[in-house]
Subunit: 421 residues, 2 copies
């Protein structure tokens, strides 16, 4: 089926009618936070459509999920509601459906230019988990932090390693990031270093947004896990490598990560990503039965990171990678996360871990790209070991369809100097 | 000043008028969750007092913080509001104040016997951080997991090590804990163990409950940190040692902890604990300036853990410890947590880490008490390496004043068998 909307969408746009990603926004002219979907250069206000009675399917006609300040209620309703919403929106936006197309007052109320809104965090995030699912990243970090002998810990091939992240400091794309202060390794017999981080890094990640979730004590089967994942966003897991290297033994990353994590505003649904499914990598050794999937899916999502230093007009590409480099699938991550009975709640997010590919130009962070600062990157007039004050880091992600994109927009943030104590 | 309430309080009670800990409860006969304080064998319903206009001080008379289903709003208001609430409640409950004492209909409405209410989680917990602040515990765990050479990592004496915990699986005292399933170390060339945890453990901890908190990017000075801590609760950080040992390198504890964490329902305020302040331990090497306190306080809180196996009438003491064994203070923990700019929100909690003392009978978990199962504990007809199905673990904590206690009540949970997959 060829889809076409009455809203004009440029062929390069990330947001054609095939996509329809969900976010939460506030009109700049005032008003409360509300859910919307992106279509071309517009945001479609779902609260306006809901108030006009246009969600007339059996599930959504009885729900106030689009009159909420976050998407959590919709996420908790599960895939039948998500499918009904997608079908309703594709119908309402289609070229040959007059309902919205020919209702100029409703169109004026509900279709807002993107530059007239402020995007907000799309969900209330109860818990944020960060995985470590790129083999290339695990190998490179292991080599840098622990040496070239056995850089990958023996558990890595048996389970999707993860740690709990800090939920409070997740911010929406466009939020400035203040350079963190903290401790670093002592030199010789001196006390530890203390001051602004000298090894500030980005991490190219994506994150899965959890749907209904589970009760405490009730694991989710890996073959039902996809019904608990609403969609994906881009993520930059900013990292202070000097703070991290000193603090992380034995309990894992803490202040080296918790000063800020940026996500993109638009959640691209698994339904919209379905045409871009590709095979997951062969897993050897074979995983334990609770991680074996009947159908094991990755997604072919091209990712790119650019840096725009202060005062420069242009940005330079730092790296290009792809979501399909991940060894563990998001459904395996979810099944593993719940196998001990841990409960997931709607709106929780799972970071993928840094998405590094096999090539030197597909590494997902400066730690790897510059080998812990030993090999500075030289880019179009700029040399970098780690991030400097004023640097803006911009992640984009996009799936290329036949004549259209299903894209994620951008996930960006600029480094501000450490504030005086 | 000698305080005395018109509510009769047994001298052994944890909850005299000197204490007045805060919780959230639901009357068993029906009704919404609401804040209360404990007094003797009663819960005083703060929503009833608030509705009757009895919080008549300058701050609280204008607030609906006691008409909320959690304490978060009160916590966010800070110490001036907490002090006003405490003064108002001590006045209203005092022997010689007729306002509540002689108003039989208000008394009937607001003073509910504890066995007629259900206690709930007192706050909405945005983020849960677990520290590692007992030197004895760090040393014992290091020796067990990594060997006797340098069991304490070099960073330990320079910063209060911590990791992010799972907020969703924090439950209130009395909630059953289902034995988790998971992976353990492979034996030889076999795949990893998979099944119900064979090394299920408790951890004797306490947790600090965060008050106002801070904005992202704005650290809290260590000498102002006490104004951001509302009070303390007891905590049992249930741990599956086999799952933890296999998964925790390199990113720290994950599924070995996230199947359940139990807290006690009553938050004992720092104001109530003030008479039990004692000196914090001397810290050598001297900490970095951002961790140096003008006044460094610990609290003398006696802790005891009992086990009650299924079918036995009596419980046996597993260990006795004290909160004052902690090396890092809660105010140092808070200053460290925010030094990188990480934002804290009202209701966040900080676990202390397992509180082990120096003596063999003061160790805070079975991992240490049985030296990883090598030396089973023999107690009054019961032998234990780790917890068995049906075991109930009961933590109590109490400060002994002159003729009164300031106590925490109990923090308990019973192990249920793993559920079939």
């Amino acid at each position: 089926m060829v889809l076409k909307s009455f809203v004009e969408v440029h062929p390069d746009s990330h947001f054609p009618i095939e996509n329809l990603p969900y976010g939460v926004f506030k009109p700049l002219q005032g008003g409360e936070p509300r859910p919307g979907v992106a279509i071309g250069d517009y945001v479609l206000d779902l609260s306006a459509l809901s108030s006009a009675g246009l969600f007339d399917g059996p599930i959504l006609s009885k729900s106030d999920c689009f009159l909420q300040p976050s998407l959590n209620k919709l996420l908790g309703m599960g895939r039948p509601a998500w499918k009904e919403a997608r079908a309703t929106l594709q119908k309402l936006l289609s070229f040959d459906n007059p309902t919205l197309r020919d209702n100029s007052s409703l169109r004026a109320k509900s279709l807002l230019p993107m530059d007239k809104v402020q995007m907000l965090l799309p969900t209330v995030i109860g818990d944020y988990t960060d995985f470590f699912s790129s083999l290339h990243h695990a190998k490179n970090c292991g080599t840098i932090f622990r040496g070239p002998e056995n850089p990958i810990p023996p558990n890595w091939f048996h389970l999707p390693i993860a740690y709990h992240g800090r939920a409070s400091s997740i911010v929406i794309s466009g939020t400035d990031i203040i350079r963190p202060r903290g401790q670093g390794h002592p030199m010789g017999n001196s006390p530890p270093y203390f001051g602004p981080s000298q090894k500030l890094d980005f991490e190219l990640e994506m994150a899965a947004v959890v749907g209904p979730g589970n009760e405490l004590g009730k694991p989710i089967d890996v073959n039902e896990a996809a019904d608990h994942i609403f969609g994906l966003v881009l993520m930059n897991d900013w990292s202070a490598r000097d703070i991290q290297a000193w603090e992380y033994v034995p309990l894992g990353p803490f202040l080296g990560k918790s000063f800020g994590t940026t996500i993109s505003p638009w959640i691209v649904t698994l339904d919209a990503l379905e045409p871009f499914v590709c095979d997951a990598p062969k897993q050897e050794p074979h995983p334990l039965p609770y991680l074996v999937e009947k159908i094991s899916k990755n997604y072919d999502i091209s990712l790119e990171v650019q840096i725009k230093p202060a005062g420069l007009e242009h940005s330079s590409v730092l790296t290009r990678s792809n979501f399909n480099h991940l060894y563990w699938t998001v459904t395996q991550q979810l099944a593993h996360h719940t196998i001990n009975g841990c409960n997931l709640r709607p709106g929780d997010i799972f970071g993928s871990g840094t998405i590094s590919g096999p090539e030197p130009e597909s590494l997902g962070c400066l730690l790897e790209l510059t080998w812990n600062g030993q090999k500075p990157l030289v880019l179009d007039g700029v040399t970098r070991k780690f991030l400097e004050d004023g640097d803006e880091v911009i992640i984009t992600g996009c799936c290329k369809g036949n004549g259209y994109n299903v894209g994620f927009g951008t996930c960006s943030g600029k480094i501000l100097p450490a504030t005086p104590l």
